[in-house]
Structure formats: C-alpha cells, structure tokens
C-alpha cells in the first residue's frame, strides 16, 4: 500500500498570459495516506492540483496516475476526473443546484449511471459526510461549514480514489476545522481514499497529516513527515511560513532556555509527553 497513486515528473506550468506558476515539480503522493501541501498564497498549490486531474495541461513534464501518464483524450480525462475528486476552496463556486440532493448528484448524473445507482451513491455520500438531515434544504440557506460539506459530498459520491481539497479549512471556525479534518481522516482510513489537502493552517498539519510537501514560488522546497519537515526551521521561515506554535515554543525552550527537549515536537499531546518526560528526568538528577 505504499506505492504512489499520483506522481509528477518535472512538472512545469505557464499560464496563457506568461505567468510561470510551476517550475519543475517532482513529487509522489502515497496511496491511502493523507498528504498536506503547504505554501504561502500564490505558491502554486492550486495550479498543481488542477494539473492533477487534467484541467490544466503541463507546459512540460508529466503527471502520472497509478503509475501511468495521464491520457489527455476526452475519454481518458473523463475517467481521470472521476477517479480524482477535487474540492475547491469557496463552496459558493461549486454548489450548482438549488437543493442539496440535486447538487450532490451533479457529478454522478454526469457519469451516466443507472438512476438507482446514482441515488445509492448520493445517499451514501451524504451519510459519510453526516449531512443526511440537510438533504432537502435549499443550498443557499446553509451555513458556510455546511456548504463545504455538501461540496465534499458531491465529489465523494463519484467514489474517487483520490480526494484533493484546496484549503478545506479556510473560513471555518476552530471547531469547524477540527470536525472537518476528523471527517477527512475518517474518509481516508475507512474508505481507503487518498486525501490531499493544501493549507495555510500550519497547526493542523502535524495533527492530521501523514506527509507534507512545502511549496515556494512554484517549486517544491521540502518534503517529509510533519516531524521531518518542521525540523527544517530555517527553510520554513525563509519561505514565509511559520512553525506550528507548539513547535515554536519547544524550539525556544530548547535552544534559548536550556530545556533538554526533542525539537521535532509539534502537537499539544507530544509536547505534553515531552515535558512530562523531561520533568521526570530532571527529578532523577
């Protein structure tokens, strides 16, 4: 289960107006994992995502899905987009119908499945996302968080192998963020769907993601597990990001205040254990 489901090889992308968005990205996204792509605004995260499912075509380089280069024929793209579901940042731009049920069915109906199968899938998706109670509501009456969920359900109903989400937590309040991330985690583990998210919210990465890529000005500058990546403190700061706040505190304690701590700690629970350990060690002396 450790092979790459999505790969890019020296991917370049230049917009029609000449703006260079991607400058040679080569990455591999592991099947069945939750991968985060970090990067400041304008680093090229969304552009890369749109290259994943063939909405954009690389200016040079390749995108591989399941080890095979993308087939850009009409039929190939249709198949690809079914398998790579894409959720955009602003749910208002991706809810197409007046009612929740209709909206979730948009993609499934376009797949030309029998009606019964369509209904099953839509119901399933609503259940997985926990929005069955919203079924008959008009989309414009939903809260921002609910709209976001409906958007995800609409993609999930197509039963993709990969779920790509652009800034899924943007605009959500704190509880909304953790609920959404837990839900994604569940989709990933129970349905075995590979999840890829882009985000600014650095603090959630060590909590919910298995692997991290860090982008900067169209290049991939760091990759690894959250632990590995957040140890590269200098690079992280150089490219306009920051450490998780807990990581930052641990770093200061270690280097400035002589606490004998591991500096790859980024979550509250890790920090707690580390400080407890340290206390115990300290006591023993």
């Amino acid at each position: 289960m450790n092979e790459n489901i999505l790969e890019t090889k020296d991917l370049h992308y230049i917009y029609a107006d000449g703006a260079v968005a991607l400058k040679g990205i080569s990455i591999g996204i592991k099947k069945g994992k939750c991968t985060a792509v970090l990067g400041a605004n304008g680093a090229g995260k969304s552009t890369m995502f749109l290259n994943f499912n063939g909405i954009y075509r690389p200016s040079s380089g390749q995108v591989l899905f399941n080890g095979k280069p993308i087939d850009y024929s009409r039929k190939g793209l249709k198949e690809l987009r079914r398998k790579i579901g894409m959720v955009f940042q602003d749910p208002d731009n991706q809810l197409f119908s007046a009612s929740v049920f209709q909206d979730i069915s948009f993609g499934v109906v376009n797949m030309k499945l029998p009606e019964k199968e369509c209904r099953r899938r839509v119901d399933n998706a609503m259940e997985q996302i926990g929005i069955t109670h919203l079924r008959d509501k008009p989309t414009h009456s939903l809260s921002f968080g609910q709209k976001k969920r409906v958007a995800i359900a609409g993609v999930l109903a197509m039963e993709p192998e990969v779920l790509v989400l652009d800034e899924p937590t943007a605009g959500l309040d704190p509880i909304g963020v953790s609920e959404l991330m837990k839900m994604l985690r569940q989709i990933q583990t129970t349905l075995g769907i590979t999840v890829v998210i882009s985000t600014h919210d650095i603090d959630i990465v060590p909590l919910y993601c298995d692997y991290v890529f860090v982008m900067y000005h169209g290049m991939m500058v760091l990759e690894g597990t959250p632990k590995q990546v957040f140890t590269q403190k200098e690079t992280i700061r150089d490219i306009n990001l920051r450490l998780p706040r807990i990581g930052h505190l641990m770093e200061i304690l270690k280097y400035k205040d002589d606490f004998d701590l591991d500096d790859s700690i980024n979550t509250i629970s890790e920090a707690r254990i580390a400080l407890k350990d340290w206390k115990a060690r300290y006591l023993k002396r």
Binding site: D17, M86, D90, Q94, F96, S97, N110, M158
Partner: protein
C-alpha cells in the same frame, strides 16, 4: 485573463497622456477609412504596428495573433461583397453556373474587396495601438476630460472592474464543473453552461449589493468622484499625430491627381 489588458498596463507608452494616444489613434483611423487606398492602409498597418511593437513593447507574435481575431468576419464579409450573381457570364472574371444564373467575381469587385480588406486591417491596427498601449483606467480619464457624460464614464468604470471579478468567478465555476464531469457531453455542457450563467447572475447581484454597502460606508450618495492621475504631457505627440496624418492625406491627394481618381 484578458491579454490585451495585461499588455496595456505593461506598455512602455503607459505613462504617456492617454489623450495624446487617443488623438493619434483616432486621427489615423479616420484618415485610413477616408482614404481607402491600398498603399495608405498598408502604411497605417506598419505605422501603428511599429509603434505598438517597437515603442510600446507588445510582442510581435501577439500583435499578429490579434490581427487574426476579426479574420472570420473579415473573410466572410469580403467574400460576400466580392461575389456577384449575374444573368450573363461576360460581366464576371470567373464564374460558375447556379440555377440558371452565374455566381462569380468581377474585376471591380475583387479590387474593391482587396481595398476593403486592407482598410479594415489598417483601422484595426489603429484600434490595437490604442488598446494595447492605453489601459482602460487611463482611457476613462481621457473620456472624462473630453466631457463625456459623467454617469456614462462612471458606469464604464464600474463595469470594467466587475468584468474581472466576475471572470475570476466564472473561471472557478467552470473548473469546478469540469472536475465533476460537467462538460463531458453536449447535453451536460448545455446544462452546465446554463447553471454557470445563473450562478454568475446571482453572484453578481449579491456582489452589487455588498459593494453598495461598502461604498455607502465610504460616503457614496449616488456619484463616484475620484482623483485624477497625472500623466506625462508633451505637445510633441500632438504634433507628430498631425504631421503623420498630414503626410498621409497629402499622399492620398497626390495619388488621386496622378491616377485621376482611378485607383
């Protein structure tokens, strides 16, 4: 998104007073249309193209591509004018029979079409000179100075801004639909396009409401008053505009007197 707009802001002639560019473009455009001479049209294409590419810095391939934009209309239009339907074949240079009559080109109609073709291209290059070197915000300033009705210029100002924010939205919606196979068949394409249009409509209605609130908070009471930008102003350009066009006009008159108004 809209390349012409992008090149206009990056033009090396950007800081030049828009009024000068407007006067130059319109004068030359008028002369080109009035003259209707092959040689003048070609001269205008070269003058305006040269100014845009060499002075303004628009890449040459882009300028060429732009010249192709109206080509469908131009070819269809010119072809339609060139074609004649006649009773007798003698009038036509080349013809095929059709329903007891003849369809074909005559000598005169071909010359006329060629003139029209080049005149239109000359005129278009004047338009391109203006639009590739004068960003819309500057052109609107010139409109204001020309005394165009205030409401009209204000509306243009707002429409121009909305175009871009709506284009961005349209782009995102299109991508989102495309990701969910919204354009995978003709039928779904129609449906998706209709959905997109209605979404855009609702969005633009909401946005106009939100913008109204925001403007109200800054003291909007029905009029949009702003400060004018300052531009480099030299009489040189007006003189050049007059000189270039005077030369062209003189040339036309000379041509007419030589050929007796035949060509």
């Amino acid at each position: 998104m809209i390349s012409i707009d992008k090149y206009a802001y990056n033009s090396r002639l950007r800081r030049r007073d828009p009024m000068q560019k407007l006067v130059f473009a319109m004068m030359t455009l008028s002369v080109c249309i009035w003259a209707e001479k092959i040689i003048i049209s070609i001269a205008v294409i070269f003058i305006m193209g040269g100014m845009t590419v060499l002075k303004g810095g628009t890449p040459f391939p882009f300028f060429l591509r732009l010249l192709l934009v109206p080509m469908i209309f131009l070819l269809v239009g010119v072809f339609t004018i060139a074609v004649n339907i006649c009773e007798n074949q003698e009038m036509l240079l080349w013809a095929i029979p059709f329903a007891g009559k003849w369809i074909g080109f005559s000598d005169a109609s071909l010359v006329k079409s060629l003139k029209l073709f080049l005149r239109a291209l000359g005129a278009v290059s004047c338009l391109y000179f203006l639009s590739l070197n004068t960003p819309m915000v500057d052109l609107l300033a010139a409109f204001r100075r020309l005394g165009m009705p205030k409401v009209f210029v204000e509306l243009m100002e707002l429409v121009y801004r909305f175009i871009f924010s709506l284009m961005e939205t349209a782009d995102t919606i299109y991508n989102a639909q495309n990701c969910r196979l919204g354009y995978s068949s003709l039928c779904s394409s129609y449906r998706s396009l209709a959905i997109m249009a209605s979404m855009l409509f609702i969005k633009s209605y909401k946005q106009s409401k939100a913008l109204y609130t925001a403007l109200e908070a800054r003291g909007y009471e029905g009029e949009i008053n702003v400060l004018e930008e300052a531009y480099e102003s030299h009489w040189g350009w007006y003189i050049m505009a007059v000189a270039v066009n005077a030369l062209l006009v003189l040339f036309v008159i000379a041509l007419k007197s030589i050929t007796g108004g035949l060509s």
